[in-house]
């Protein structure tokens, strides 16, 4: 199963899309997902990530079928 990648808020607008799917081959961590999804661009300094809806760092492991979200610092409340 592919990895589902989602982008939110200003990051979604910069990337130009809300979601995409990536083959899981060669993707071991959240950082790998970012690299593939952004064609090798460096992640913004303040980017946050979540794997299956739980906050995760760039070195967090990713598996087949996971959903990986990327977003800027949160500003609710």
């Amino acid at each position: 199963m592919p990895i589902k990648v989602r982008f939110f808020a200003s990051l979604r607008e910069q990337i130009g899309q809300a979601e995409m799917e990536l083959p899981s081959d060669g993707v071991a961590t959240v950082g790998d997902v970012w690299a593939q999804a952004s064609a090798g661009a460096q992640p913004p300094a303040e980017v946050l990530a979540a794997v299956n809806h739980t906050t995760a760092g760039l070195d967090y492991p990713v598996s087949d079928g996971d959903e990986v979200g990327f977003f800027p610092p949160v500003t609710g409340g």
């Binding site: 979540a50 500003t75 409340g77």
Partner: protein, 146 residues
């Protein structure tokens, strides 16, 4: 413990009254601390006319539940409620309600503030403002809570 995301305007007082009616025993409660965040007509010196609240469906609810569970583990609470708007918000409308009930005031005050600070740093919501000039911009950071 209740979590609610609202796509339409909500009344904090109606939410509180309904929670008290449905979930609390009046004689046990000695203290209710609550906080309502609402939309201002200005931010960082600019007039703001509209706001959109984006969130991460699926993750948002879980993040708020985690924060509530942490509060319940840390303080002796009889109940707590978080309600948060999503979508289009108009000036003056409530954005967030956090309410905590306890036998005594210390737990109610501290847990209510905890919920708000954790929500503002960990729950996946993002604000996009429309200025009076027509320009739109993402709010990049929160004002300090302490």
């Amino acid at each position: 413990m209740t979590i609610k995301l609202c796509a339409e305007a909500f009344s904090p007082w109606a939410e509180i009254a309904e929670y008290e009616r449905a979930s609390l025993e009046a004689g046990a409660v000695g203290a209710c601390a609550n906080f309502i965040g609402s939309m201002r007509d200005n931010n960082e010196g600019d007039a703001v006319v509209a706001m959109t609240l984006e969130h991460y469906p699926g993750m948002t609810e879980g993040a708020l539940e985690t924060i509530e569970r942490e509060a319940v583990a840390k303080w002796d609470l009889l109940g707590c409620v978080i309600v948060h708007r999503v979508g289009e918000v108009r000036v003056g409308e409530p954005i967030v309600l956090c309410a905590c009930w306890s036998a005594h005031r210390k737990a109610a005050f501290e847990s209510c503030r905890f919920l708000m600070e954790e929500l503002k740093s960990r729950a996946p919501f993002w604000k996009k403002e429309t200025l009076a000039s027509g320009e739109t911009r993402w709010v990049e950071r929160n004002t300090p809570g302490y």
